[in-house]
Symmetry: C2
């Protein structure tokens, strides 16, 4: 039956998300979920929608959320497109801008889903390696590199159509400045998607750059910032001329009635957000300090996780030791770059349990 499947799909491996155990009491610090319960207004809203019932189709454009977000951001609702998680938004972006055989760019190490999206689309992807200090090289912003096959690509018309830049980046937690992002957008021949999944935990964001440069689009998710990974709600802010085209590509009813109402209530509770952010930032500081004290190299994080490498200690055994003790962190090994542990910021208690175990392992490595 495989002959009926598109060859691009057969040959791809498929994106593998982090482990998501549905049962049990694991300390789950592997997929950057927020450890605190979402605003109670979210849950009250969901129950209110249940009382009204779910027999009718939802609003195709999630108008209630668009209006609240537009009010907060100082734009019109037609600058905003909502999606079933930011995965849906990233899929819509790829399908709107990148055709078969065309090219999208992403930095590396970064979110490899962007590459999978190119594969599904029958497009090509190009990874531009971060510098060792997680700054971006000049080649990230130019259309063609001095590579032997570039002139051939140009002749074939396989032009660069879209660039993804997660900011803060994962797994590093590092950021590129607003000034540099604006410069990159001006240099590029195509739109630039600033993926702000983690921007709530940073000192700044790029939302207002969308007004300054029509090539900049900013996407967001409520998964981490609003403790709603289980709800699936994301959005992109872009100029109306682009949103209008993306609306054609999305599924007609891509957001359900519960998530539209819940997401609207979530962003309306700005006090919850401020309190939650303060808690996460304090624990991030604690996690960073303790890991550095154990000899780990930890770049300053602007997200709700930290990236931990070590000059001497092998990291995979630590990941396995933690897992055997009911603590999930993310072990990542990037070809040509090296490996590391990405640890989500949990509660103080979860964070201490994790670091205590790491300390224990380093003092007395099992099978090391």
């Amino acid at each position: 039956m495989k002959r009926h499947i598109r060859p691009e799909v057969v040959s791809m491996k498929g994106y593998v998300p982090g482990e998501q155990p549905q049962e049990g009491e694991a300390v789950k610090l592997n997929t950057n979920e927020n450890p605190y319960r979402a605003s109670e207004s979210v849950y009250e809203t969901i129950c209110a929608v249940c009382t009204k019932g779910l027999s009718r189709y939802p609003d195709p454009v999630a108008g209630a959320f668009r209006e609240e977000a537009a009010r907060q951001f100082g734009v019109s609702p037609n600058w905003i497109l909502c999606g079933n998680g930011s995965d849906d938004i990233l899929t819509i972006l790829t399908r709107t801008f990148v055709g078969h055989g065309e090219l999208l760019r992403l930095p590396s190490p970064s979110y490899i889903l962007y590459r999978s999206l190119a594969e599904i689309q029958g497009a090509r992807s190009e990874e531009v390696r971060f510098n060792d200090d997680w700054t971006l090289p000049h080649r990230f912003r130019v259309e063609f590199h001095n590579d032997p096959d570039d002139s051939a690509a140009l002749r074939a018309g396989n032009r660069l159509r879209l660039v993804f830049l997660p900011n803060p980046n994962s797994p590093s937690g590092t950021v590129i400045s607003r000034e540099e992002i604006l410069e990159i957008a001006e240099s590029l021949p195509c739109p630039l998607v600033v993926d702000e999944a983690y921007a709530t935990f940073s000192e700044f964001n790029c939302l207002d750059l969308v007004k300054k440069s029509p090539k900049i689009m900013v996407c967001r998710t409520l998964s981490k910032s609003h403790s709603l990974a289980g709800l699936r709600f994301g959005y992109v802010v872009a100029q109306p001329e682009l949103i209008e085209q993306m609306l054609k590509v999305k599924d007609s009813y891509n957001c359900d009635s519960l998530s539209i109402a819940a997401a609207t209530a979530a962003i309306a509770d700005v006090e919850w957000l401020a309190r939650n952010r303060t808690a996460i930032l304090a624990t991030r500081e604690r996690l960073t300090r303790r890991m550095r004290a154990l000899g780990f190299s930890v770049p300053e994080s602007h997200a709700n996780f930290t990236w931990n490498t070590h000059p001497e200690v092998p990291l995979r055994p630590i990941y396995e030791y933690l897992k055997n003790n009911g603590i999930l962190v993310r072990y990542m090994d990037y070809p040509g770059w090296g490996d590391g542990l990405r640890i989500s910021v949990g509660t103080d208690e979860q964070t201490d349990r994790c670091v205590d175990r790491i300390e224990e392992f380093i003092a007395n490595p099992v099978g090391f």
Copy 2:
């Protein structure tokens, strides 16, 4: 900025779903929603998930639903793929099977979303017209037609890759028999998707044909059958070898925690389904009888709507008259086929209100 958008997207019109007023008390018989409230176990389950919280990611494959559905259908869970409404499923199917420039087929008049999916994919679509009695012509099952450009298409390799067949069909409510569907699948060079959005209201379905023919895939939605259009949950049943490939194409977390739990509870309540079906079928009979008495031609419906044409009375003014009186039905006008009113089966009371108004209009047409 349009130069940055894929030309296929710029040139397409975009699928326009039926009107979905979010406020007000319209009698809504235009998008085949179920007029009854879903099983209370659905709403209780949603509240239970809220108590547990939504901070964690959902199960990427919606395991709980897969297991319950597999048990009911007598297959293994790996025969089932879940989606964010059957729109998501139809999108995944198109992206898995139909490449750029390749061909998909649909009958017409039918669900024009299939055509939009081809457009977004940069693929081509071919509409095969139903016979006047809503049976399918022989050309629906053969790879190449005797059209002048077919040999050119063959040379270009733009082969037929996927065929969609809604059964029952919309807007007609008519069905193709199981025997004929099996014959069509055997004749076709590619997989056949039987879209069973409305099969709950029919006397039969094609689920077990998936085991008989690896080329048959059956997709379903809970929107109509379980009164959950606002929830967004659909699924496809196909052989595991095909499901495995489609899993690579779907978004990682395409179903949220609320919808997975709610959909599982919904299909588990088989008594609710039986009661609901009995009520809908009785009202469908009433609607058909009354419309025929007014001189409408109404094919025997196997779905939760009827298709109403009239040899003399123009239909658009009826649609407008109903709308002005707070009753929404769907007016459809298919080029080369003609127009009609598709009326969803509501409660007896809603149905009577609608038909009373039509009767009133025909007796004394306004501006007719």
